[in-house]
Amino acid sequence: MSACCPACGTTVLAGEAFCEQCGQDLAAAGHSGSCTACGSAAVGSDGYCENCGMLQPTGRDHAETEVETSAGVTDRGLRHSKNEDAMALVTAGPGTVIGVVCDGVSTSSRPEEASQAAADMAALTLAKRIAEGEDAATATREAVAMAARAVAAAARPGEDAPACTYVSAVAAGRHVTVAWVGDSRAYWLGAHPALLTEDDAAPGTHMLTAWLGADAGEVVPHVREFTTDGPGLVLLCSDGLWNYYPEPEALAAAALDDTPVAAARRLVRMANDAGGQDNITVVLIPFGQGDAGDATVAFPKERSG
């Protein structure tokens, strides 16, 4: 986990004593609970400064996670007051990595709760079912159903139902199982980079045609499986990244020559440098490492619904 420098906003990692950018003493300020805007020690439990009123950055504003060699980075971006994206990265036994990215729908109520509930529930369900010996595609459908139920259950009378998108990947051996609802994406980044998902959105717009939420009706995820004989990365991301970098080649060029955590940070920084209009979440799962030969991606027929 990491946080933002209270003085200049630069990302700083847990354990760092001073901000690399401006030299702020991190122990003295940001992490002691004082206001990042005015320095007052009186910050309420609801996150607003009791002196100047500013909402304080939270752990979700910028978070990083690493599981074995996989990594995830989520960031508030530059234009939103909250990070409504959520991610989960877990293992299910040796050699199997599960990644989930969910993007809260901004116009719904409490989108940050929806995305977190969906990501947590899906990762938990996938890990449990795969550990029990279930195949990845069946476990994935179950995980999406459980996540959809968790988001629907968060609805309260008298408000718009909380809603979010969903994309997940289960990487095991040479097999990857990808599923999505909405416009969060999965990419294959290797010698022949490719977009693995097709947005559930009206073409050329951000008008979602599918999402998780009490008002979504029955949720039918797209589930796709593929195998590869070469090394590369599976990228899961929210539209905060792909709005700026939709091309698989550009993403591969930025990600392939570094460790996953460094590559994830770089992709997030690129999105922020391009404007940071939305929350940005990037999960990178290395895949087929050590296998010989060129990376090729083979898609079987989609088995959704």
Partner: protein, 429 residues
Amino acid sequence: MADFTIRVDQNKYLPAGSQEVHGIVTAEASGPVGAAPAADAAEVIIVDTSGSMSYGKINDARKAAQAAIDTLRDGVFFAVIAGNHQAEVIYPGHGGLAPATPQTRYESKQAVAQLRADGGTAMGRWLRRAADLFSAHQMAHPDAIKHAILLTDGKNEHESAPEFDANLAYSAGKFVCDCRGVGTDWVVAEVRRIGSTLLGSVMDVRRPEELADDFRAMTEAAMGKTVADVALRIWTPRSATLNFVKQVSPALEDLTGRRTDVDALTGDYPTGAWGGETREYHISVRVPPGQVGQEMRAGLVKLVVPQTGQVLASGNILALWSDDPALSTRLNPRVAHYTGQQELASLIQEGLQARNDGDIETATARLGKARGIAERAGNDETARLLDKVVDIDPATGTARLKRVVDKADEIALDTRSVRTVRMRKDPES
């Protein structure tokens, strides 16, 4: 005690650099109504007995006071004051309040039956007398809900303006006073000042024979109050300015100048006693300009019992700077509605003032515009009263003042200009 809730309606999104934040705070009390112990309610009935009350009015005033006495629950403490250029407690005689029993009701109604119309008008002295009765009662009954009814038919002619001001200030905070003006010789602005200061309603009563029903209804409403003293406690950030705090429903009341500081960033605004009811407040805060993506709490609004500090409910007024014009230019419908209601009241009051000053052009413009707003916003009663003052050509929409206007209609329009309607179509329900 009743259950209190607060809801805030606003558009929290501001364009970059913008500083004005508006919110409508809906405060609702529900739950056990009429559950306050009778001994914790105190009622003083103040009847105008000036000379102008003769010719029959005094008879209707007697009946009204007696109707109010009959409405008091057993055990409620009460007194009756006869007011002219002096103030006399005609019941009970011992300088305090008497608990309502069949016996005291009978005795007090006998005393009321003896009221005679004679002398001048000095309302400040009536209020001071009531304040002293309540203050004495407060010693033994600290939680008492203190309510008075004031009836007048005339101008406040027999005390100087400074004395009236002093008497009104002396009474502020000691009790809530609902005021009624009967006939056409009382001055709306004068009585409105009493109602505002003492957190009560002001209404015109066109015919004296309507007084009894009105007194009964007011007393019943007073008996329904369960919490004596509630304040709106508002925190605003350092370097922010509270532009105004106004009650906007059920009637307009500017509370901005009524602040009692709690600390450097927090102030209390009195709201009086509450029963099962809903009131709405318009709060405007000027905040320092923020950057896109920043979120700020521009106000923390609480309902509190000021004596104990007990918090009954709370809500946030937020500011979130955005570069999305679709978000930041959206008007919150409730803020827009009550902004319109405030404009309507100003137009009516300014229009009537201009009419009295002989400025026909201004009067016509203001009252004509008011007629249009009243119709669009659903102020049906106001529209009906405006029709008695101004004619609108249905073809051209041009307004023209009526030549002859019933004084009672003018008074009704003025008095009721501060009463608002709730949104015709509530998007929340």
